[in-house]
């Protein structure tokens, strides 16, 4: 059994080792330390620095003296206190003191963050807002676009912690604008654009019709049609607004893209990857659509995508590869390939014949020199509005001659759906009054009514999840529970059936089970998979510090995107197969695409997209911890950061947040050129000679050093590359001890140790799920409920879907 005592130092809230008696902590470790080392000078006898530690508030939940306590930790941690001339505490004493005081501070902080006023407001995250307006009105709206809704404040990766999601006047402005835009799209002033379709062949987009080129082919007797050779290092037009005729904002909407193409992959090089998006530079686009082309030249494939476009828009193709035909390699080379009339492509075997003087893209054997894409045709169709989408806004706006009563009923119905609960007439009185004033001022029905709808969409009932009443209560109402469940499992509002169950009083017992099971099998559950995996594993950090191109030439935008998807797809597989939690730690499979397989050195899948691939021990992968995303997000673009890796592992996998480092950490200097090369580990360990640092790092660092065999982008290595210094690059040493002393010699053994701690890993996972579902930090008061969930989940080997189900059906989830 993993020793909780050893880890309680990292406890986010007070851990069980402190005993279930809970709030009473007789003879605290920290008090003993203070008595021995501090009170003599900071107490009743002397009041050095005007500080009386004996009088500081011990009510950590109230938090009155938190900053003084933090300062006390800081002073002891940094070695400033006790002063040099006094008796020095030992490393163990310091560790015990800091641990126990830090746990108390965190416990108080968590309680304050978890505190719920009588009426609690939890603001929707951007993603939730997006899903909600889609489910409400069938409108597509992208709040992450520049200029739209503000970014959500993260708390340890979570986007939806109520105490973090605040509101400023600028948010209000943006919510107003968003609501305006959403209503514009739902009820366009002019009849919205008819669905149109256009197909462009390679001859049309590449060769301006291709008459001359076709004549050249005829001369040579070439039967193959013209193709468009797209190469990395340049962007090429994929959609112009005028392709579809006159195009304005009324044509915004969902578009279907179909494209026939194949890919050329150079021997030892990467599969061709095509990215389509808005041009962001000479050789880059923001990837709206991304895919690998593994179909060979002679067997092109038709790909199909659906994508939301704000019209008018121009899109470009961009072949992404690490080896590009760039300016630095010679602009003439690229210009020759890009030349419209000059370069003709049909087939690799015919390029030399057709373009004897152009740079060659294929070697004598017909192998590609670069990763390239061969395009046959492209087709755009849209905007597409499904009947289901239209149905959501049918009958919302009352007819022009509607009586005030009918208008009121209409608005009430709309508010009930938008606010996800029953709405009383008087709650919408203000909005109706504004409607009336607009009408009286001569506005048309639709314009006046839109003002009222706009009010409903900017109301706090729409942009927040509101729980509670003026008089405090402990449990959620059924409609509140319906919203909590749907934002947990669907990242959106409840559907009619869930809301009906809530209003009908059947959202309990078997009725609740039925609804939760239905929700878990609904396709909207994939939003939970995307959102929870991203937030739990802090995937927003992937690529935050772009890797150094010189040190890591294998890295590119598509690899990064693929890395970011791997843990999510892995989670999806665990969820849909309901696999036991062990696979998070280790598995003999992963879910990868061609680019990742190439990067990991695995056998590549025949078709594109993410799929399950099996792993052998010599692949040195398996589970979350050896994924590129995890190893990369804990690095800084130039080197791995063992301490960050340790902190991440401690938070995400073990559910414990280490105490903060003291402020006065001396700088790590670069390895001097005249010294022998040293690993980062050697340098960090030199740091640890200091008793104050060692008190925390001795336990924390091994959790990160265990992964030293993987570099800053997650590539396997046996030696650490050191920029300057004498001698050969030093060997990596990943060995270490768990906080309770069990040894491991490398990452594999470390995983085994973690599997022995299955209960703790599962508990951490449950805590993360509950934090996500409840939208708040967990506190000591939640411990019993969490234990109950764990007991339920353990019955069946901690299978993932069962754990999620246990959380959704728990007592905790129905509490405020």
């Amino acid at each position: 059994m993993f020793s909780l005592q050893h880890f309680s130092r990292f406890s986010r809230y007070i851990s069980l080792s402190f005993g279930l008696a809970g709030a009473v902590h007789a003879a605290e470790t920290y008090d003993t330390f203070l008595e021995t080392h501090c009170i003599r000078c900071h107490g009743p006898d002397k009041e050095k620095g005007d500080l009386r530690i004996d009088q500081l508030s011990r009510d950590f939940k109230l938090g009155a003296d938190t900053h003084h306590w933090a300062e006390v930790i800081e002073q002891v941690n940094s070695g400033e206190m006790p002063p040099k001339k006094e008796k020095r505490p030992t490393q163990e004493e310091i560790a015990a003191f800091v641990t126990s005081l830090d746990a108390r501070i965190k416990e108080g902080r968590a309680a304050r963050m978890a505190a719920r006023p009588a009426v609690a407001h939890y603001r929707l995250s951007r993603k939730e807002y997006q899903n909600t307006v889609y489910d409400l009105l069938g409108v597509r709206y992208d709040p992450a676009k520049p200029g739209e809704l503000n970014e959500d404040t993260l708390w340890h990766g979570f986007e939806r912690i109520g105490s973090e999601l605040s509101l400023s006047p600028s948010h209000v402005d943006r919510y107003y604008r968003a609501a305006e835009l959403v209503l514009d799209r739902a009820f366009p002033a002019a009849a919205s654009g008819e669905t149109r379709k256009v197909r462009k062949t390679a001859a049309e987009i590449r060769y301006g019709g291709g008459k001359d080129q076709q004549a050249a082919l005829d001369r040579f007797g070439i039967k193959r049609p013209l193709r468009y050779l797209l190469f990395p290092g340049n962007v090429q037009n994929a959609l112009s607004p005028n392709w579809l005729g006159k195009t304005g904002p009324e044509h915004s909407g969902l578009y279907k893209l179909r494209i026939q193409a194949s890919g050329i992959r150079p021997p030892g090089g990467q599969p061709a990857h095509l990215s389509i998006g808005k041009r962001t530079g000479e050789e880059t686009v923001d990837g709206l659509i991304e895919f690998d082309l593994t179909a060979p030249e002679d067997k092109p494939q038709v790909f199909e995508f659906e994508v939301f476009l704000e019209m008018p828009i121009s899109l470009d193709f961009c072949v992404v590869a690490t080896d590009v035909v760039d300016r630095r390699a010679g602009a003439a080379f690229r210009n020759a390939l890009g030349s419209r009339g000059g370069y003709i492509f049909t087939h690799s075997s015919e390029t030399l014949l057709l373009n004897p003087n152009a740079p060659q893209m294929f070697d004598g054997q017909g192998n590609g020199i670069f990763s390239t894409v061969l395009l046959d045709w492209i087709e755009w169709e849209g905007p597409l509005v499904s009947e289901a989408e239209k149905a959501r806004r049918n009958g919302l706006v009352p007819p022009d001659d509607a009586t005030p009563e009918v208008v009121a009923e209409n608005l009430q119905r709309f508010a009930e759906r938008a606010w996800r609960r029953s709405v009383k007439k008087e709650e919408i009185a203000e909005y109706l009054q504004s409607y009336g004033e607009e009408r009286a001022a001569g506005e048309k029905m639709v314009d006046a009514y839109r003002l009222a709808m706009q009010g409903v969409l900017t109301s706090r009932h729409f942009i927040y999840l509101v729980e509670g009443d003026a008089v405090a209560r402990e449990r959620l109402t059924d409609t509140e529970l319906a919203s909590r469940l749907s934002y947990f499992l669907w990242s959106s509002m409840p559907d009619d059936s869930l809301l009906t169950a809530a209003k009908g009083g059947t959202l309990n017992g078997d009725g609740l089970k039925k609804e939760v099971d239905r929700m878990l099998t609904d396709s909207k559950a994939s939003r939970f998979i995307d959102d929870f995996a991203r937030q739990w594993l802090q995937l927003h950090r992937v690529g935050m510090f772009p890797p150094d191109k010189k040190l890591y030439p294998a890295y590119d935008a598509w690899l990064e995107e693929s890395m970011r998807s791997e843990p999510v797809e892995f989670f999806r597989e665990m969820f849909s197969k309901n696999l036991p939690i062990d696979s998070f730690i280790h598995s003999d499979w992963t879910v990868a695409n061609a680019r990742l397989c190439d990067f990991y050195g695995l056998v590549e899948p025949k078709s594109g997209g993410f799929q399950r691939v099996s792993l052998k021990p010599e692949d040195r992968r398996g589970g979350l911890l050896t994924m590129g995303a995890v190893l990369g997000l804990t690095s800084d673009g130039t080197r791995q950061r063992p301490v960050h890796r340790g902190v991440w592992l401690s938070e995400a996998i073990l559910g414990k947040t280490p105490p903060p480092p003291p402020a006065n950490v001396p700088a790590i200097e670069p390895n001097p050129p005249q010294n022998p090369k040293a690993t980062l580990r050697d340098k960090i360990e030199a740091h640890r000679n200091d008793a104050n640092c060692a008190s925390c790092h001795a336990k924390l660092d091994p959790l990160g050093l265990a992964w030293d065999n993987y570099d800053a982008i997650g590539q396997w290595r046996t030696h650490e590359k050191v920029a300057a210094g004498l001698g050969a690059d030093p060997m990596v040493n990943p060995a270490g001890e768990m906080p309770d002393g069990r040894p491991f010699k490398d990452a594999n053994e470390f995983k085994q140790r973690l599997l022995e701690d299955r209960d703790q890993v599962a508990r951490a996972f449950i805590d993360h799920l509950c934090t996500y579902a409840l939208r708040r930090v967990l506190a000591f008061d939640d411990q019993d409920d969490l234990k109950a969930i764990q007991a339920e989940a353990k019955k069946n080997e901690y299978r993932i879907k069962d754990i999620i189900r246990a959380v959704a059906l728990s007592d905790l989830i129905s509490k405020r």
Partner: protein, 458 residues
Amino acid sequence: MSNYLSQSWLIDRRHALRAMGSFISLPMLECMVPLRASEKVTATPKRSAFIYLANGVHSLNYQITKPGRDYEFSRSLKPLEKHRDVITPISGLHHPGSLSHHHNCISIFLTGGKLGPSDRNTISVDQKMAEITAQHTRIASMEVALTQGSLAWTADGVQLPALRRCSEIFASMFEEPKGGIAAQRRALRRKASVLDDNLAEVRQLEKKMGSEDKGRLNQYLTSVREAEIRTRRADAWLDTPLPVVSEADRKRTNRDIAATMAGDYFRTVYDLMVLAFQTDVTRVATFSLGGEGDAFAIPEIGITESRHQLSHHGGDAGYMEKLTNYDTFAIEQFSYFLTRLAETKDLNGKPLLGSTMALFGSGMSYGHSHGNANLPLVLAGGADLGLKHGSHLDFNKDAAGFQGYALGADGALTTAHYQLCSRPANTDAHMSNLLLLMAQRMGVEADQFGDSNKVVTQ
């Protein structure tokens, strides 16, 4: 006639009734003041600009080692030599809250706040200033960041969104209202009406709750209220013609510049800031040259690496040289800004530089190891507001235990200097003290800002 319309805000029945409500603690009076009355323009408009350079500098080539008036310019500060009389290089300040918080230092550069896991950021000094200047100008403040987030934070610790593209910045200041004044006015009124309804609805709940803890409710109320005030202010400004921008200025600034043209990009944003001050569209501006993670490469001087990448030079001589060149380049563009401020006159006919304080700097000093002490800072301009310049203001020199800068036999700084960049020599020398000084000179009535412990005296 249009004037009459705008004044009608002040007597609008619904608004007036609601304004009488007792539940709002906001300075309601301010928006009840007729526009003309607030036009008693202060004799000297006071302005401030803040510029952020991510990832610190190559401190060995940046640090000025001699305090006082006869300091010598370091290699990377050289481009500022011609402005010697109007600048003060500052050494030895730090934000206690950012020590050991790595790249998060950018979040509290202008706030002096804390960065703990449950700490909420506090108001940034530019926003503190905007509180008093907003009543005079068309837009309250200008936030530019070429990558990642802005430097500006509200009193609730919410980061303000940033503008990036020059055309977008230009439009925010000088674009004609969409669809003409009448259509714009109708839109603003509809907005005010909606926000009003939202407020009225929440007030019902507020009444019911009495003195209970209202949690998020108060924040919602103040934010919606403030948004409403801004809507009305915008309405009032509709009747004031947009400032005239010369064709040359428009051409130069109203365009989009690729990230690969960093120099042109930096200078054009500076031009836009000058234009904003010159036309008095705003008096407060912040400009982040790029975030801590991905500030631009500068291909025009042979730098193809991101700034973050260079800062983790690992002792590589080539990288350190490039980092120095980058620093020098950025400081050169700042020097351009000062030149433009000096040669441009405001609406009162006085050079902008006299009425404008400009602070340039980073929340980090030694990027390779994330040293957040001894911040590289240069304060410039603002002579009309009482700033005195000409010296190197060195807070290291009087610190107990400071042994002087770590100079080698050749007189150059040695790597031992890095320690000074990671651990403050003078723990009382908070950067908030400098921000407090600037706030006071702007006319903010405060004797405390962020974690200030005293005001900087020059």
